[in-house]
Each structure stands twice: as structure tokens, then as C-alpha cells.
């Protein structure tokens, strides 16, 4: 059981690391949104799964309710994260940002 918790937490940490590195390395505002909005979402899912599993060690009604509450956070993040991403993209489009493309030197 503990091994599964550790594994899930490490997977979540890996996703968060990918998100952070992607935010720094991507060349453009639009492509920075890809790791920021979505690797973080899956990282939250994995880590909350691990923590809820750890919470269920001493099984009782209260710990079950706490785990349900944690999954309520995940449910809300899965609803809210695409909306926030879409809102940022919309602000960028309306401000007239062009997106980065590969430079094709045809000259």
C-alpha cells in the first residue's frame, strides 16, 4: 500500500517537473500554455490519488468523507483548468499576439 502511495506521489512530482521545465523552455506564449495547463492537471490527479489512498489507511466514515472531499478538488480542477486556459488564450488572441512558427528561411 505504501509503495503505491510513494509511486503515485513520485509520478505526480514528475508531471509537475515536466510542467515547470516546459513553462521555461517553450518559445512562445501559446505553447507555454500547453505544459502549464495540462501537465499540472494530471499531476494534481496523481498526487491526490496517492494522498487519498494514504488517508484511507485507518478506515472510518470520516476518512472516507475526507477522501471524497479530496476528489472533489480534483473534479473542480478538471472543470476549472480548461476554462482558465481558454480564458488566457482568449485574452492573448484579443490582444493580437501572433504565435510562434518555425522559421523557414527561403531567401
Amino acid at each position: 500500500m505504501d509503495i503505491l502511495v510513494i509511486l503515485l506521489l513520485l509520478i505526480g512530482l514528475l508531471f509537475f517537473l515536466g510542467g515547470a521545465v516546459g513553462i521555461i523552455r517553450m518559445p512562445d506564449f501559446y505553447s507555454r500554455l500547453h505544459p502549464a495547463g495540462k501537465l499540472d492537471t494530471l499531476g494534481i490527479l496523481a498526487m491526490v490519488m496517492g494522498l487519498a489512498l494514504y488517508n484511507l489507511h485507518h478506515f472510518s466514515l470520516e476518512s472516507l468523507l475526507l477522501s471524497i472531499k479530496m476528489f472533489l478538488i480534483v473534479f473542480f480542477v478538471f472543470l476549472a483548468s480548461p476554462t482558465a486556459t481558454h480564458s488566457i488564450v482568449d485574452a492573448g488572441m484579443r490582444a493580437g499576439l501572433r504565435h510562434w512558427t518555425k522559421k523557414k528561411r527561403k531567401v
Binding site: I24, P27, K69, I73, V77, I88, W100
Partner: protein, 95 residues
């Protein structure tokens, strides 16, 4: 297990520094907004871990839920506010 949770929390804080770079030096305002969003989604997990460390998870899970709501609303309001501001975005590329 507490030691493992503490090291995971420290790793999350270290990753927050990565996102903090984008928040501080982002070329445009919206890049900073992305950094703030990423830091907020890590803070939710950090609050849960703090709750396990202090053994008050029943209290900290409510705080984490409220923080997730606040993070979402803050990003939504800020991106609505910076809707039509041309001229803020001169250099958006990083070659």
C-alpha cells in the same frame, strides 16, 4: 512516511521557484499569469501535504478546496482585465 512527505513538499517548493522565473521575467503580462496559475495549482497539493504533516488533514482539505476556487477566480478575473490592451505585448518571442 513523514520524511517522505516533507521531501515531496520541499520538491514542490523547488518547482515553484521554476515557475517563479516565468512570473518575474515573463515577456508579457499573460506569461506572468501562466506562472501564477502554475504556482497556485502546486500550492493546492502543498496544503494537503502540510495537513498530513501536522495531522490536521480535516482542516487543511477545506483550505485547499477554497484555495483552488480562489486560484481559478483570480486567473479568470485577471485575464478578463487584460483583455484589450494593445501595446503591452511588443516582444512575445524568445529565440
Amino acid at each position: 512516511m513523514n520524511i517522505f512527505f516533507l521531501s515531496v513538499a520541499l520538491g514542490l517548493c523547488f518547482l515553484m521557484l521554476f515557475s517563479m522565473y516565468r512570473t518575474l521575467f515573463g515577456p508579457t503580462v499573460l506569461d506572468r499569469l501562466i506562472g501564477v496559475n502554475a504556482i497556485g495549482s502546486k500550492t493546492v497539493i502543498l496544503l494537503l501535504l502540510i495537513g498530513f504533516l501536522y495531522e490536521r488533514i480535516d482542516m487543511f482539505v477545506d483550505i485547499a478546496l477554497a484555495y483552488a476556487f480562489l486560484n481559478f477566480i483570480a486567473v479568470l478575473a485577471a485575464s478578463r482585465y487584460f483583455h484589450k490592451r494593445k501595446g503591452l505585448y511588443e516582444e512575445s518571442f524568445m529565440d
